[in-house]
Amino acid sequence: MSSRIEILNDGGFRSDGRKQYELRDITIDLSQQGTADGSAMITHGLTQVLVTVFGPREAKMRSQTLHDRAVLNVEMSVAPFSTGDRRKRSRADRRILELSAMIASTFEPVVQTTLYPRSQIDIYIHVIQQDGSLLPACINATTLALITAGVPLHDFVCAVTGGVHSTSPLLDLTTLEENDVPHMTVAVMPRTRKVTLVTMETRLHVERFRELFELACEAGQTIHKEMKAAVKERTVALVGAIDAGSKPGVVDERDRDVFMGESI
């Protein structure tokens, strides 16, 4: 594979000025989106994904319900303006269906679906911008959205891509790098260090696999800290608001001409 761009220059910097093991900046927005039960927007560098979660709720298609657990339904839409070349992908695009199936199977063992028999959990993924590492961004955003929806999970799922340029491993690839180097995506559950997803679309030398895999698992732990901090912050804010409102005496018992139905 010959390329015009230099993936890693002599000074050890990548095309966007990062070092080998440097991840792109992550921003997380967990604010409420419309009527969704949970939602999260995550930005990995220039890749931006919005996920909304509805449910667990009554299944739309009764034939698809399972009597002992909930069904995870993942639907993905890619904005036409998200890539360099503007083009519209249909919902039935093979690539999109494959990604959604991958995300569904990643979360199948993590979500405690047995608590919600005959229900359905809808996960809607909107890709707003893409610049590499799309699948990890979707997985991380889905984790956060499920947490904000109050869906019980065994653990976070933290995903990252890794690639190898000649013999040097790289983390969190951009589109430029994804096109050039063999890469894989790894999703880990940080507490047990179990891996829920490993996927490769390119061929990677077997001797490089172990090093890269371990590195990606380690990076998952770093991303976990970032995601945990965001969830904690939201929880503190919301619990604080509830506590302030339910403390007796904050709203003093002034002349209460509000009467409760019972007392009339």
Binding site: D16, T27, P56, R118, T222, A241, G245, V251, V258
Partner: protein, 319 residues
């Protein structure tokens, strides 16, 4: 070894969390194992999924937790609560978890043989059996075949109703009943939806505000805001009037009442978006503030007005 590149700072939301940031190595988790005295009075512990709470030898696991490798681990983000040896985690926001005796507001989604399906913001649609509604012509009477044939004259798809949780089915679906004069079909108002956690159990969930507006605070987060109906009218002469109870026609509502209903609805929406728990006292204070501002009803929904409203009652999410 692994760190973040601070490039590019596209969104100003990046400053909204983690004001103090440490080097990842410094920030290592302080894993706490709970002892008896760690659950001090008034000290709230927050947790996130996958965080170990305590050992499973000394404690029992409740909702929002699971046991793995002899540890009780949280499965939702929220507050840790303990009752004696039982540890539960209450999610900060989730769907409605029904309990027997709860008052809920729901919407009919389907008419099935001898039952209605009701959407009540829960994990499954609730079931309202024909045998658990008040049938016309006497409060207590057995259902007949003719009743089964004319179920749509009582409740149709899309109708709103207020009911009580009666029991649960084996799969966790709830069964409702409307065998009370206070329960039944809803009219003369509008529905507002809020997160269920904002509605606390009260002595009564039927609230009358002095501005001529009645509220039904369903524990499932559905709130019915309607014109005030006098208690005597509600009950009818015989105690039960099928015509009135299952009527689909709204009464005459004058403009002032319409404005009041819309104002109360908007206030509820604003308070809910700032995550303020709803009580009658808070609503009343907010209503007075809104009237004092002399804004039109729709202006309440503007972000700025909403923030002023919440600030005026001194609640809400603090930045």
């Amino acid at each position: 070894m692994i760190c973040f590149a601070s490039f590019p700072a596209t969104s100003d939301a990046s400053g909204s969390y983690g004001t103090t940031r440490h080097h990842p190595d410094v920030e290592d988790d302080v894993r706490m194992d709970l002892d008896e005295d760690d659950f001090e009075e008034g000290v709230q512990r927050l947790t996130v999924p996958g965080e170990s709470i305590t050992s499973s030898h000394a404690f029992m696991r409740g909702h929002g937790t699971y046991v793995d490798d002899e540890e009780v681990i949280a499965s939702v983000a929220g507050t840790v609560e303990r009752v004696n040896k039982l540890i539960t985690v209450r999610a900060v926001r989730s769907r409605y978890n029904p309990e027997v005796g709860d008052l809920v507001v729901g919407r009919i989604t389907e008419v099935q043989p001898r039952r209605w399906k009701v959407d009540a913001n829960s994990r499954q649609d609730a079931v309202l059996m024909l045998s658990s509604v008040n049938l016309p012509g006497g409060v207590q009477r057995r259902k007949l075949e003719s009743d089964e044939l004319q179920m749509r004259t009582f409740f149709e798809e899309g109708d709103l109703l207020v009911a009580e949780v009666q029991a649960f089915f084996a799969d966790g679906a709830m069964s409702l009943h409307t065998r009370s004069l206070r329960y039944g079909k809803l009219r003369n108002g509008q529905l507002v939806t809020v997160p269920p956690i904002l509605i606390r159990r009260l002595k009564s969930h039927f609230v009358s505000l002095p501005c001529g507006v009645d509220l039904i605070l369903g524990l499932n987060g559905y709130i019915w805001v309607s014109k005030h109906v006098k208690q005597s009218d509600q009950e009818g002469e015989e105690g039960f009037d099928a015509e009135a109870v299952y009527s689909n026609k709204n009464d005459e509502i004058d403009d002032a009442t319409r404005a009041a209903i819309a104002r109360v609805s908007n206030i509820i929406k604003v308070l809910a978006s700032h995550f303020v728990p709803l009580t009658d006292a808070v609503l009343l204070e907010a209503y007075e503030w809104a009237v004092d501002q002399e804004n039109s009803v729709k202006d309440l929904l503007a972000d700025e007005t909403g923030e002023n409203l919440v600030a005026s009652i001194g609640l809400g999410i603090r930045p």
